[in-house]
C-alpha cells in the first residue's frame, strides 16, 4: 500500500465532501475560464469591428508645404503642387509582409470647386472602399452609381441648397445629387464626393491620387511595423499611423482585460477560501485518523503528503471540469452578448492554464490545513479517541 491508496480511498469514502470541493473549485475555474475566454473573444470581435471602423493609416505624398487637415487629423504636408502618388504604385501595398492585415485601401483625389459665391472641396473616391471604410455614414438617397452622380456632405447641401436629385455643375459638367450625407460632425460634411476616375479626368490628374486611407486589422500586428513596411513599399509617399485611433483601440482592449483580471482574481479568492474551509474542516474531522497515523510511525511529511495528494486529485478534476464548463458557459454567453455569434476559438494556453491554476489554488489553499494536520500532537489526537 502506498500513501496514494490512503488518499484515494479517503476521497472515495467522502463522496459528498469531494463533490462539494470539486464543485466549489470547478465553479471558480469555470467562471474564470468563461470570463477570460468571453472577454478575449469579444475583445477580438470588437478589435476586428474597430479595425473595420475607419482608417488607421494615412498615405500622403512626401512634400513640404501647406498644412492640411482632414477629419481633425493632421495629414502632414499636402499641396496641389506636389507630384501626386501614382495609382499604379498602390498595387505594392498588397505585396508587403503583413498584406493580409490590410483590409481596406481607399485612394482619393482632391480639388477645389469654386463658384461665384461659394467654395467646396471635391473628392474623387472609390465608393466601394469608401463606404466600407465609413460605416457610420448615413445617406439620404443613395450612393452614386453612375459617373454623372455625386454625393454631397450635409453642409455643402445646405450651402448650395442641394437635395436628392438636385443638379450641380462642376467644371462645365452637370451632376445629379444621388444622396446627401446626414451630419457626421467631420470634414465629410463639407465635401462633394464623386467617382475617382471621373475626378482624376476632370481635374487633370489621371492615374494620380492625393491621399490613401487604409484600414488595417491591427490587433495581432504592431501598427508601426505595418507603417514601416508600407513606407518601404512606397518610398515617395509619407505613411502615417493615426495614433489616436490606435491608442484608443488598445485602451479599449486593456480595459476589457483589466476588468476580466479583476473579476477573475475575486472569483479565485472565493474559490480558494472554499477549498481552505473545506480542507480545514476535513482535517478537524480526521483528527482521530491523523492521531493513528502519527502513533504508528507516519512522519509529518507523510501526513502532509496524504492531504496534499487528495487536494491535487480534487484540483485536477476541478480544473478539467472547470475548463469544460467554462467553455460551455462561454458558448452560451456569446449568444446573449453578441447579435452575431463571434467565432469561438479555443486557446490551448487557457486549457492548460485552467488546470494548472486549479492545482495551484487547490494546493495553496490546502497547504495550511495539511501543515496543521502534520503538526498535530499525536497524543492530543489520541486523547480525542
Amino acid at each position: 500500500m502506498k500513501l496514494k491508496t490512503i488518499a484515494l480511498n479517503n476521497l472515495r469514502r467522502r463522496k459528498a465532501k469531494v463533490f462539494f470541493l470539486i464543485t466549489g473549485l470547478m465553479i471558480g475555474v469555470s467562471a474564470v475560464v468563461a470570463l477570460m475566454t468571453t472577454t478575449r473573444i469579444l475583445a477580438e470581435d470588437i478589435a476586428h469591428k474597430m479595425d473595420e471602423f475607419g482608417a488607421n493609416i494615412i498615405i500622403t505624398p512626401k512634400s513640404e508645404g501647406l498644412s492640411l487637415t482632414y477629419g481633425g487629423l493632421n495629414l502632414g504636408g499636402f499641396s496641389f503642387d506636389v507630384k501626386e502618388i501614382h495609382q499604379d504604385e498602390l498595387a505594392k501595398i498588397k505585396t508587403i509582409e503583413n498584406a493580409a492585415n490590410v483590409r481596406i485601401v481607399s485612394p482619393k483625389v482632391f480639388n477645389v470647386l469654386e463658384t461665384s459665391s461659394q467654395k467646396a472641396l471635391v473628392v474623387g473616391v472609390d465608393f466601394n472602399s469608401e463606404l466600407a471604410l465609413k460605416k457610420w455614414w448615413k445617406i439620404s438617397g443613395k450612393a452614386p452609381e453612375t459617373d454623372s452622380q455625386i454625393l454631397v456632405g450635409h453642409d455643402v447641401a445646405a450651402r448650395f441648397n442641394l437635395k436628392t436629385d438636385s443638379v450641380m455643375d462642376i467644371k462645365d459638367h452637370s451632376f445629379s445629387v444621388s444622396g446627401v450625407l446626414d451630419p457626421t460632425g467631420s470634414q465629410d460634411d463639407s465635401l462633394v464626393f464623386m467617382k475617382l476616375p471621373l475626378a482624376q479626368k476632370l481635374f487633370g490628374k489621371e492615374g494620380q491620387v492625393g491621399m490613401v486611407e487604409i484600414a488595417a486589422l491591427c490587433k495581432n500586428c504592431p501598427i508601426t511595423e505595418l507603417v514601416a513596411q508600407l513606407s518601404k513599399a512606397l518610398p515617395t509617399a509619407k505613411v502615417t499611423a493615426v495614433q489616436q485611433v490606435v491608442e484608443g483601440r488598445m485602451d479599449t482592449l486593456h480595459n476589457f482585460q483589466n476588468f476580466s483580471l479583476g473579476v477573475s482574481g475575486l472569483i479565485l479568492f472565493v474559490g480558494g477560501m472554499v477549498v481552505f474551509v473545506t480542507m480545514m474542516s476535513s482535517v478537524t474531522e480526521r483528527t482521530r485518523e491523523i492521531g493513528i497515523f502519527s502513533a504508528i510511525g507516519f512522519r509529518s511529511s507523510h501526513i502532509m503528503k496524504i492531504i496534499l495528494l487528495e487536494a491535487l486529485i480534487v484540483s485536477l478534476c476541478a480544473g478539467v471540469l472547470g475548463y469544460i464548463t467554462g467553455i460551455g458557459v462561454t458558448w452560451g454567453l456569446l449568444s446573449f452578448l453578441s447579435e452575431h455569434r463571434p467565432h469561438m476559438s479555443l486557446d490551448p494556453y487557457v486549457a492548460v492554464g485552467s488546470v494548472v491554476l486549479a492545482i495551484f489554488l487547490g494546493l495553496l489553499a490546502s497547504f495550511y490545513p495539511a501543515r496543521a494536520a502534520a503538526a498535530m500532537d499525536p497524543n492530543e489526537a489520541l486523547r480525542t479517541l
Binding site: N9, I292, I296
Partner: protein, 232 residues
C-alpha cells in the same frame, strides 16, 4: 536487562492554578519479553504513563530510556521513525481506518517503509493469520464484529514485528467472551517473545500479565508487585 526504563518521569498539564499533575516521578523498568499490566482507576495517570513510555507524550520531567536512548531527545521525525520500528500500539475502541479494508489497515504501518506492495501484503496476511482473520482480509471494519476489529488492531500492531507492544485498554469495548479471546491472544504473543505493556482497569485482565504495576493518583501505589504467572 531493562528494555524500557522510566526514570523519575512526571507529567503536568496546564499552568499556574490550572496545573494538574497526572504522573508524579515514577520509576519503572520493562524487561525484554515481559508482559506488564499497568492497573489503575480512571484518571489515575496510567494512560498518560503509557503514552510517555510509547513516545507519544513528552514528559514534563524525567527520562524514558529505550535500549539506552532517551527517546525524547529525538526530533519529531526520528521519534516517528522510532515508534514505527520499535513500537506497536493497540488502542481502545480498535481505531481502525474506516475506509481501508482489513488487509489495508494491517498494512498501514508498512505503507511508509521500504517494503514493496507484495511484501507488505505477505506480512499483513501473516499477521492476520496470527489473529485468525486471514479469511476476512477484504472486509471493511464495519463489516466485522468488535472482537474481530480488536484482533485486526492487534495484527496491525505486530505486522512489522516491533520489539514492544503497547496496549491501552485493549478489551475496553469488548464483551466478556471477546475480552478473553483477546487476552489469550496477547498472552500467546508474549509467549512467542513479544514484550507487552498493557494498561487496564480490570484486575482479571491485569492478571494475564507477568507483573502488575498499580497506579493511583499519578504514583505507583506500591513497590512493583512480584511477578505473576501468565494465565493460560
Amino acid at each position: 536487562m531493562s528494555y524500557i526504563k522510566a526514570i523519575q518521569v512526571g507529567k503536568d498539564f496546564g499552568d499556574g492554578d490550572a496545573k494538574v499533575t497526572a504522573v508524579r516521578n515514577i520509576d519503572l523498568s520493562v524487561e525484554q519479553g515481559s508482559f506488564i499490566s499497568i492497573m489503575g482507576e480512571s484518571g489515575s495517570g496510567k494512560s498518560t504513563l503509557l503514552a510517555m513510555l510509547g513516545g507519544l507524550l513528552s514528559p514534563s520531567r524525567g527520562q524514558i530510556l529505550m535500549e539506552g536512548i532517551d527517546i525524547y531527545t529525538l526530533n519529531r521525525t526520528k521519534l516517528a521513525d522510532f515508534r514505527r520500528e520499535f513500537m506497536g500500539f493497540i488502542f481502545q475502541s480498535f481505531q481502525l481506518v474506516p475506509y481501508l479494508n482489513v488487509l489495508e489497515n494491517v498494512q498501514l504501518p508498512l505503507a511508509v517503509t521500504h517494503y514493496q506492495e507484495q511484501d507488505q501484503k505477505r506480512l499483513a496476511l501473516s499477521a492476520l493469520e496470527k489473529v485468525g482473520l486471514e479469511n476476512k482480509a477484504h472486509r471493511l471494519p464495519n463489516q466485522i464484529s468488535g472482537g474481530e476489529q480488536e484482533r485486526v488492531a492487534i495484527a496491525r500492531a505486530v505486522v512489522n514485528e516491533p520489539p514492544i507492544l503497547f496496549a491501552d485498554e485493549p478489551t475496553g469495548n469488548l464483551d466478556s467472551r471477546n475480552s478473553t479471546e483477546v487476552m489469550k491472544l496477547l498472552t500467546r504473543l508474549n509467549a512467542e517473545g513479544q514484550t507487552i505493556v498493557m494498561v487496564t482497569h480490570s484486575r482479571k485482565n491485569a492478571e494475564y500479565g507477568q507483573r502488575i504495576v498499580e497506579v493511583a493518583d499519578g504514583r505507583l501505589a506500591e513497590p512493583p508487585a512480584p511477578a505473576i504467572k501468565a494465565a493460560s
